[in-house]
Symmetry: none
Subunit: 278 residues, 2 copies
DNA sequence: TCAAGACTGCAAGATAACTTGCAAGAAAAT
DNA sequence: ATTTTCTTGCAAGTTATCTTGCAGTCTTGA
């Protein structure tokens, strides 16, 4: 049963102090889930002893048990995603398309455990403010690189897809400048030319961004930014591009919003100038 | 600075025990954020003292400070929802990535309403039995075409990606034969060169397959086979390639299974021949 | 081969967090 | 007005979690 529902059922039997605690929990369940009894009590203006008693009153063995219930319900973890997975798995599809769709959905459900909204916005900003964006995708990732090239060009960005041939890559990197950004993909292992790519960008002072699978954080040499989220499928078998593609799409959308914000700010400033000279 | 980035910067200076801890954190950052030093240490197979030391090594005053940083980065603080669906759907997870992942997952969950397992297997068979596979993708779909080319070549299939330039397309179609198959993508509207593509294939007697969005059923001229499933996102706005990509991946997997079956059948016949001449 | 340094588990001690007995004050009942 | 009951803060005690000194073992360097 939903914890909030459980609390609501006993709302008439709550003392004033308990009521204040409950109001605080409902107002901000994740804060309550992460904090201590003392912190919640302080926020509610009661003593932590009251918080401990409330938990017991609600049927929990301890305040920790109460907080664990809050966490289960309000904080997405692998356990909650696993519950979601179980729900899907219980539909019992064994068709190729059905299983694949389920696995992709599972992987997508975990995605925000690994990549925060702030990261998406930060990197979208970086790309939109760059003079040029160099995009590198080797092997299967070439597909993603092509997609990003097409999407960013839609914004009018100066985008260049880097050649996967070492000589071509080297020639193109000659044009890299400090104001540019390099975006690459790296999955099972660093792609061919990766080390040269990152080192060259660093020497020139251009920022580097990697979109990777699970192992991205262990890449060497280090890029400036990493968006790493595990892809669906067996690590050693067939892996799809759905998760990194979703990351790419999120970057494009965030970039679009950034561009929109910039446009709105410009309009606002224009409006103020017009007022001044009116 | 991103905590994962901070960790990544010191990855070369980590001891084996610390590295295992870091791997566990990366594997499941929200579990690490919610649990104790003892729990993380146990999961990593080291002592909790090592976890405490790692936190200090990473520059935090204490393990609690390290865990607070994990929470700040990986646990959304805006809250209303419970399960994954609700978490993403209702939360002020106005976050681009979260919404996108949810929409993709929703679209994926409906995929088998539009495409049956029999269709997947039939078309996978068709492609594997074809002498050559011609693949056409215009605009954004070029990304999918490229992916299919790469995947099918992995099987040793004779695959050709068709030029999006009308003249080049025409020249390539000269090589089309009865035993060949043409696979194309068609989303909002038939891609440039579509009619010529289908008509030419029909005249030669080559089979045609279209992977499309919702409107696929209304395509003219008619291809021999259609795999149509609605993509996620607003019809008139930003649409992603996740659903058609999943359809492609399902075809590749089914094709792989088909190839495996063919191999097993050949082995069986060889076994019978050996028995006959024994 | 030996010594020095690094790593990490153990365990004692420290700190943080929670629980509960007690009591003061407020509210309700008589 | 008085008594009884309830609420809740205080603080001591308990439990959970973390930190750090120590020592054994392994690795590295001379």
């Amino acid at each position: 049963m939903s914890l909030i529902k459980k609390i609501s059922e006993q709302v008439t039997a709550l003392t004033p102090g308990e009521r204040r605690l409950v109001e605080n929990v409902i107002e901000s369940p994740t804060s309550a889930a992460l904090g201590t009894a003392g912190e919640l009590a302080k926020a509610a203006g009661v003593h932590e002893a009251t918080a401990s008693r409330l938990a017991k009153k609600l049927g929990f063995d301890s305040y920790a048990a109460f907080r664990d219930a809050l966490r289960d319900e309000f904080i997405a973890t692998q356990e909650t995603a696993t519950r979601f997975e179980k729900t899907i798995a219980e539909t019992g599809t064994d068709t190729v398309l059905g299983k694949l769709a389920m696995e992709e959905a599972q992987a997508l459900s975990h995605i925000e455990e690994f990549i925060s909204p702030a990261q998406i916005n930060e990197i979208a900003d970086l790309m939109m403010q760059a003079k040029r964006v160099f995009i590198y995708g080797y092997g299967n990732a070439e597909v993603l690189a092509l997609m990003m090239v097409k999407r960013l060009r839609r914004f009018g960005k100066d985008v260049q897809q880097l050649d996967t041939d070492p000589r071509g890559l080297a020639e193109q990197m000659l044009g890299l400048e400090t104001d540019d950004v390099v975006l690459s993909f790296a999955f099972r292992r660093p792609p061919r030319g990766y080390a040269a790519l990152i080192d060259t960008a660093r020497e020139i002072g251009a920022k580097t961004i990697i979109i990777s699978g699970k192992s991205g954080a262990l890449l060497a040499p280090r890029p400036d930014h990493i968006l790493a989220a595990p892809r669906s499928g067996d690590q050693d078998a067939f892996q799809t591009l759905t998760v990194p593609m979703t990351v790419c799409n999120a970057l494009i959308i965030a970039a679009g919003l950034t561009a929109k914000e910039a446009s709105l700010r410009k309009l606002d400033r224009l409006g103020k100038l017009i007022e001044r000279f009116d």
